[in-house]
């Protein structure tokens, strides 16, 4: 009763399909897109919020640019949670990228605030960047904990199975 013919799509074909979907390069690309889009939105929002007397047209332009930046960030976040899902190993790489990128962003914003005439907007961007840095560090710690927990369980299972063998 259990002898249906073999599937028309072979194991090797499915493995190729899944291997393509697992591509680390694509994931890194989307993480980079997310970070750049967030940085762009932060810079624009900082400029917008710290300049109270901007002409209406400039304010509209900032709003449009901030909208575009957040749309790209939302798109990248959707891809990373629904399509190119980040597995435990990928999450650590993504979180490290986020920590490095946001740290550079905060340092750059502070440098601009100190050594250029862009004082307030640069400090505002640095403050928003610092919040992103805190989130990135929290994500790194949490992804590290998750990875370690999985590795520990994996080790325990491998020991149990080898004892039974």
């Amino acid at each position: 009763m259990n002898d249906l013919h073999s599937p028309p799509i072979s194991v090797a074909e499915v493995q190729r399909l899944i291997l393509g979907e697992l591509s680390l390069r694509a994931r890194v690309g989307y993480v980079a897109l997310l970070l750049v889009a967030l940085a762009m939105t932060t810079v624009i929002a900082s400029l917008w919020l710290t300049e109270p007397h901007l002409p209406v047209r400039t304010q509209i332009a900032f709003a449009v640019m901030a909208g575009i930046g957040s749309s790209w960030a939302a798109y990248a976040a959707w891809v990373l949670t629904r399509r190119r899902v980040l597995l435990a190993g990928h999450r650590i790489i993504a979180a490290r990228m986020a920590v490095a990128f946001t740290a550079v962003f905060v340092a750059g914003s502070l440098a601009l605030g100190i050594w250029s005439s862009m004082g307030r907007p640069a400090y505002a961007a640095a403050a928003l960047g610092a919040m992103m840095l805190i989130v990135a560090v929290a994500m790194l710690l949490s992804s590290r904990r998750r990875f370690d927990a999985l590795m520990e369980r994996r080790g325990a299972l491998e020991r149990e199975l080898s004892q039974q063998a």
Binding site: S6, I9, L87, L157
Partner: protein, 183 residues
């Protein structure tokens, strides 16, 4: 043995959750054929089942990070397959459900051995059962899931699985008897 299988399943799930490509290869090698057979029986034809099985694998890849208990891997995988199959059946059969019987389901058309004829007849009659009865028979007798796992896959209480299984066996037996199979 069942405990050992569960541990193997959990280990495989964890390796996938860690993101090891070789674990996905092993997962596919282990489950592709059972999934295909299950979907083929529910879908009724090769093309629909082939499309469905690819969809199932993509959903497995995208969802495995959220699987909390790896020892439930088997029920989780068949649960995804069932949802995909049911979604597709709903789309396909806005009109009445008709199950096509592929010639290749009929084992060895020119084979005269009684056993092979019986198996062929069983395939045909199984495919003619309504989907709810067919899927419990397939999951229990062919994929060897436990009653609790089937309950999880289908999303109904274990008691309902038992009664549905009883009804399905009786319906299949009645159909086989009506076709003159009395052994």
């Amino acid at each position: 043995m069942i405990e050992n299988d569960r541990k193997q399943d959990e280990l495989l799930a964890i390796r996938c959750q860690l993101g090891e490509p070789s674990a996905f290869d092993a997962l596919i090698a282990r489950w592709h054929e059972p999934l295909w057979k299950y979907l083929r029986r529910l879908a009724g034809d090769d093309d629909a089942a082939a499309e469905a099985v690819q969809d199932v694998w993509l959903r497995i890849l995208r969802g495995i990070a959220r699987l909390r208990d790896g020892s439930r891997l088997r029920a989780w995988i068949f649960g995804i397959a069932r949802r995909v199959a049911m979604d597709r059946l709903r789309e396909k059969y806005a009109e009445p459900v008709l199950v096509s019987i592929d010639d290749r389901d009929l084992v060895g058309a020119d084979d005269t051995s009684e056993l092979k004829e019986d198996i062929a007849l069983m395939h045909v009659e199984l495919a003619r059962l309504p989907v709810p009865e067919r899927e419990v028979l397939v999951l229990f007798h062919l994929e060897e899931l436990t009653l609790a796992e089937i309950a999880e896959v289908i999303g109904i209480p274990t008691g309902t699985v038992k009664s549905r299984l009883f009804r399905a066996r009786r319906a299949l037996r009645d159909q086989l008897v009506a076709k003159g199979m009395n052994r």
